[in-house]
Structure formats: C-alpha cells, structure tokens
Subunit: 413 residues, 2 copies
C-alpha cells in the first residue's frame, strides 16, 4: 500500500509541477502553442524519455511517446488526454490522464506485452485560443481542414501561422498526426468534473457514452410597464413567464433520469427596479445519453415555454444555437475495463460523461473508452481542482489490470 | 360639444407645443433648471398672462399664476402639476395637469368665486438631474434643507449653484416658494400612467391614496457547476430557486387584490450557457394602499424566498433598499370630486395611484386630491405617451364642476 501511494503521489506531484508552467504568472493558464507550452513540452518529453519511451512532437503540437513491444511492430494501445488548459485552470483536467498513462508505462517496466503502447498528450482540447475545441484530436483523426487552419486567435494569428511560429509544419499534419492504423484500443483517463463519484463514494467509473447536447436561445417578449400603476392581471411580464418556464425545465429534468437541463444565462430588459420586464433572453442547455430522448425533451420544453408565455400574454421564440450528438464509447472495451476494475477490487460502475472530451473525436475511428477519476468537491476549471491519491491509485491499478488483460485480446485481433 | 372639444384640443396642443422645448433636439428632455426650461417658462408665463393671471417664478423655479377673487384676499384653491420631464419623455406627464388647470381658469372667465385660484407648475418632480424627486413641491411645503441644496448633478453642479445660475435666490426659498397658508384645497390632475381606466373604458378617476412601496434586493447563493456533469438532484442552482420565487411572488400578488409585486432586475452569475448559476441577484418592488398589508406581504414573500432556496440547498439574503409610506388624499375632497364627476356625467370612480406624485408631498400640509386622466395604451415616460381629447374634455368638465361646487365649502371655511 505504501508503494502504491507513492506512484499515485508521483502522478499528482507531476500534475502540480506541470501546472506551474503557465503563460500567466500566479495562475495556471497554458493555451495552445503558447510560450509556456514549449516549456511544458520539454518537461513532459524528459519524463517520457526517462521512462524509456520513443518520443516526438507531431505537427499539431501533440507530445507523443511509444513503448515498443518485441512481439509487435504495429499493434498499438493508445493512452491519451490533453495538456492545454482553460484560463486560471486547475492542475488535473487533462494532465492527470497523460501522467497517469506515463505512470502505467513506468509501472509495467519490462513486462513483455504483445502490443505497443502510445501515449499522446493532445495540445488543444479546451479550444480557448481559437474558440474551437478538440483541434489536436481532430488532427489525429485526420479531420483538419483549411477552415481549421484559417481560424484566427484574438491577436489575428491563424492556426497555420501559430503552428509555424511554434516550429511545426502544417503541410505535414496528415502524416505526422495520425494515430497508427493498427491501434486496436484507445483509453482516456480524465477527472470526472462532476459530483457523481463523490456522491457515491467511488474512486472511478467507466464512461460508456459522452452524451449529446442541444443549446438553445429563448426570447420572451411581453410588455414593459410601470411596476406601480399596472395591476397584476393586466401585466404581460416577460420575466414571470420565463421564471415559470425555468421551474418547469427543472421539474421536467428532475422527473427524467439521465436528463440534465440548465438555464445558465438570463437577461431581463429594461432592467429597472420599478419597471415590469418587457423582454427576457435566456439560454437552455439540454443533455441526455440518448439523442432521441434529448430531442423529445427539447420539444416538450419548448411546448412548456409556449404555455408559460401564453398564460401571461407573452410571446416566446426559440432558436437552436448548437446540437451535438451523443457518442457511444466502445461497448467491448467498456466491459473489459469494468471487469478489470472489479478484478482490482473496485466496483465496475459505468456512467455517462456530461462534458465533451477528445475521446468523442477518436471514437468514430478507433475503439475508444474513458475512465473517470473522482473529482473532490466536483471542482473543475478552477484553481482548487483536486485529485485524491487513493482515487488516482485506484485508477492506476485498474488501468494496469486492464492493460495486462488486453494481452489476450490483442493476440486474438 | 364642438366647443368642448376645442378647449380639450387646445390643452393637448399646448402640451405638444411645450414638448418641443427640449434640451435634447429630436426628443423631449427638459430637466430641472436647464436651458430649455427658461424657454418653457417664458411660454407658460405668456399663456398665464393671456389668461389674466398674476404671474411669478418662485426661487426653486416654479412658475405660478394667481386668479384673484374680489371676495377674498387669501382663501386659495391650488391647482398644480409639474413641467420637468424624464429623458426622452412624452408630452403629458406633468404638463397636462398644468395646462388643464390653465384651461379651467380660462373657462371660468369672469365667473365670480369666493376664493383665489393659484396654478403652480412645479419645476422638479421626476428627480432626474439631482437623482432626487419632488424637490420643488418639497420647497413649496417648506421642507428644503441644506442637504438638498448641496446635492450635485452629474456635472458636479450643486442645487444651490444651479438655482443661482438660473437667476434664482436660494436664500429666499422659504418665503418665495411656500404656498399660501390660506390654501384650503389642492388638486393635481395627472395622466394615469397605467392601464386601469383604459381597461374599464373610463375617462378619469379620483385618486384616494398614493400607495406605499417597499424595494428590496435579494441575493440567492448556490453553487456554480458544470451544466453537463452535474445531475439534477445534486445541483444547488441559484436561478431555479430565484425562478420558483418569482413565480411565487406573481401568484401571491395575483391572489391579493390591490397588491402589486415586481421583480424588475435579475442577474445570474457566472452567466455562461453551460454553467449552473451559482449566484442570482434581483430586485423586488412591492406596493399596496395599506402599509400594514404591504409589510405583511413583504414578510410572506421573504418566507417564500427562504423556502424556494432551502428546497435547492441555496441560501438567500434580503435587504430593504427603500420604504415609502402610503399617503392618503383628503377624503372630503375625494368625495366632492367624485360627486362633481357624477354631476358632470362621468362615473365617480376612485382608485389608488401606484406611482409617486407631488400630491404626496403636499398632502401632509394641505387638503390634497388628485384626478387621473386615462392614458391610452397606458404608455408613459415614452415619446408615444398620449392623451385623448374626449378624456381631457371630461377632466376639464369635472374640474370646473368641482370648482364651482367648492364655492359653498370655501364660504364655510
């Protein structure tokens, strides 16, 4: 147990060391292809080399290390996550999966496996710099287009220029970034960024699906009027209509398991203490593991918006701002990872991911699975984001158990 | 009838002529002691003189005209309203009462009355320039203090300095502004600024009370969290708590006649489409003719806020931003004005004013009454604010009927 704690502690310590490499002193902010990213790459590459990996940086800026098998030239297991961050981030969203992968490779030591293991630290998942997430896993999946390369950051620098400035070659993106076609399985370990595991007092869970989401904008249009002179029955209050609907949304989502629905932004105009709001604009975010259920929920919720509005002589208009389909993880890998968890002494809990991840981008191209590690306080995208040693140790143990179990599967394929 | 229409049309036309005198070209904006106010005063004084009134401007900038009685040196009926405006105002909020008073004097012609009639056009009711309303009626009531005089506008000019710059003498405020101590009744005619008369298809109503109001700020404090990864039952959503309460407020006010309650401002933080709101701040405006009922309502509503918050693991804090007591108009004058309306052929409807008026400031000092004239579309504080000829004619007829009926009352006093 004391040995185990040591390898988990080392992973946490490395995440923290990486978090001190930042573009903004005093916080952790490490954007795609930034100055700090050079230093982060150098540190990560040094750790990979110490672990005996063959290292390289591909032309989208992903740091990669391969553990060669004597038995196979090509058959490859991929472990991955990302090392870019949101502004003022924590230490674990992304780096935990990368450094846990490295710890697994170190732990495997000289153990002979019938497949290679490649570790990829993706360079752009959060999508802060170019307002576009998953750029580097999209490159690994061969999906980068000229539109992607022409995107510009706040300073007017294009993705293509940023790649060149970093010393990379955008012309070679295709060949240098693609993951090996003989990759038979891909695993992303990531902090949960939610409260489920903590609520159930579990260390980890297998992610069976990254759930789809719909984002809508709604505008309730009533009649602004004097708060003192307008009797209640004569009002056309856009805010009471919107409020009724927000409560309806909450009730409906509570009544439908696995559905989450959130009104995150609201603005009431004209916004004076003594004026009845004439206009309310708000956003709705709806997620469900089943796309059909999600679409059905959106339909029901829009009907409820109409009813809440009509009751008050208010009009409501809704527009869909974005739609993202649910992405299933590989069912066979989910079963084998849950079984490995059980063998290692942890419940083989499966769950859905409510947040998007690089795994979503790789899943259509290679059998992909995710493992969530408990987030203390469910804090994420926050400097106080944390990871507990015992939970990290559980994840290391489960991944090793799983990798060792894959020997048979890899031989079969 | 055609003659009647003519005198009402003249009042409306004069209101519109006054509305073209503005500090901001293209709209009607006439703030206290502004440049445009000089021109408005000159025009109003010329109309008063044409009507045979003794005119003067007092030292807070109120324009005053007296119709002398042969029978009385002092006994005085006061007619009043204001001629300052909000920014981008309509033509009738204030000026209608002043010019309708003038029309009444013109209509009375040589009719001998046993009392003087004084018409006051108050200079500062809206309170825009110095963020303080009712300054000029406060002066007439003898209530101006050094604190009032030291208040500064956005340009750093004090009330005292503004008075001097306008050619007035702040040292003489007391004597020059006070209304005559022999004033036995005061009437303010004003547009309703609400939908009640239009909903009941009435031209006018007697205001029996200016209702009190409480303004509160509430802060709901929950826990901001990821909209995708936080299951509904584990949320502490400040916005759903606030929304539940907004609906409770609406329901409670609908269930309690004469109560109005309004949430006019709301802000949800952090305010991102994919983040559960952790904090919501909003305002509550509560009004009721009875101060006791208003206080009781505020108490019940705060309890409801606690309940809506507790159900969601959210905290709520409320602070009272301001309190204003209800001000009763004179009951005898209300009865005589309603009776005059009936005699003139209009229902003697009485109602409450949900908005504040100069009448509220005078009422503790002199028997005061208000007459509301229907607001088409209930629009006010808006360029499209309107007054209909038939409603204005009704008000002129009722006021004349009332003034003639006061002969007896004035003789008695």
């Amino acid at each position: 147990m004391s040995l185990s704690r040591t390898r988990a502690a080392k992973v946490i310590e490395r995440c923290r060391e990486l978090s001190r490499i930042t573009d903004v002193p005093g916080e952790t902010t490490r954007l795609f292809l930034s100055r700090a990213t050079h230093a982060a790459h150098a540190l990560l590459l040094s750790w990979m080399r110490q672990a005996g990996l063959e290292t390289r940086t591909d032309d989208i800026g992903n740091v990669r290390g391969v553990r060669r098998s004597n038995a196979s030239d090509t058959s490859t297991l991929l472990l991955f996550s990302h090392i870019d961050t949101v502004p003022n981030a924590g230490a674990f969203d992304g780096p935990l999966g990368v450094l846990l992968g490295l710890a697994v490779m170190e732990e495997l030591g000289a153990t002979e496996l019938p497949f290679n293991i490649e570790l990829i630290a993706f360079s752009e998942e959060e999508g802060i710099r170019f307002s576009f997430p998953f750029l580097s896993s999209t490159a690994a999946a061969g999906g980068i287009t000229h539109d992607h390369l022409r995107r510009k950051d706040a300073a007017g620098i294009s993705v293509e220029q940023a790649l060149r400035d970093f010393g990379l070659n955008p012309e070679r993106l295709g060949e240098s970034c693609a993951f090996s076609p003989a990759t038979f399985a891909a695993l992303e370990v990531h902090i949960e960024q939610g409260p489920v595991l903590e609520a159930e007092d579990l260390s980890l869970a297998v992610v069976q699906s990254i759930i789809g989401q719909s984002r809508l904008r709604l505008r309730f249009e009533g009649q602004a009027n004097h708060a003192g002179t307008t009797p209640m029955p004569l009002r056309r209050d856009a805010l009471t209509a919107a409020a009724q609907w927000i409560v309806d949304v909450e009730r409906f989502a509570l009544d439908h398991k696995q559905l989450v629905a959130t009104v995150g932004r609201i603005e009431a105009l004209p916004g004076a203490v003594n004026v009845i709001p004439g206009t309310v604009e708000l956003t709705l975010d709806v997620r469900h593991p089943s796309d059909d259920s999600r679409h059905a929920a959106v339909g029901v919720l829009l009907t409820k918006a109409q009813r809440a509005a009509e009751l008050r002589g208010v009009q409501v208009k809704a527009t869909v701002a974005s739609e993202q389909k649910s992405v299933a993880m590989d069912a066979t890998l989910a079963a084998s990872l849950a079984a490995a968890a059980e063998r290692a002494g942890y419940p083989g809990r499966t769950m859905f991911s409510g947040a998007g991840h690089d795994a979503m981008i790789l899943a259509p191209h290679v059998p992909t699975i995710m493992l969530f590690v408990r987030s203390p306080g469910s804090l994420s995208h926050h400097p106080d984001e944390a990871a507990r040693e015992e939970n990290v140790e559980a994840a290391i143990a489960v991944v090793i158990e799983w990798v060792l179990g894959l020997r048979q599967g890899a031989n079969d394929s």
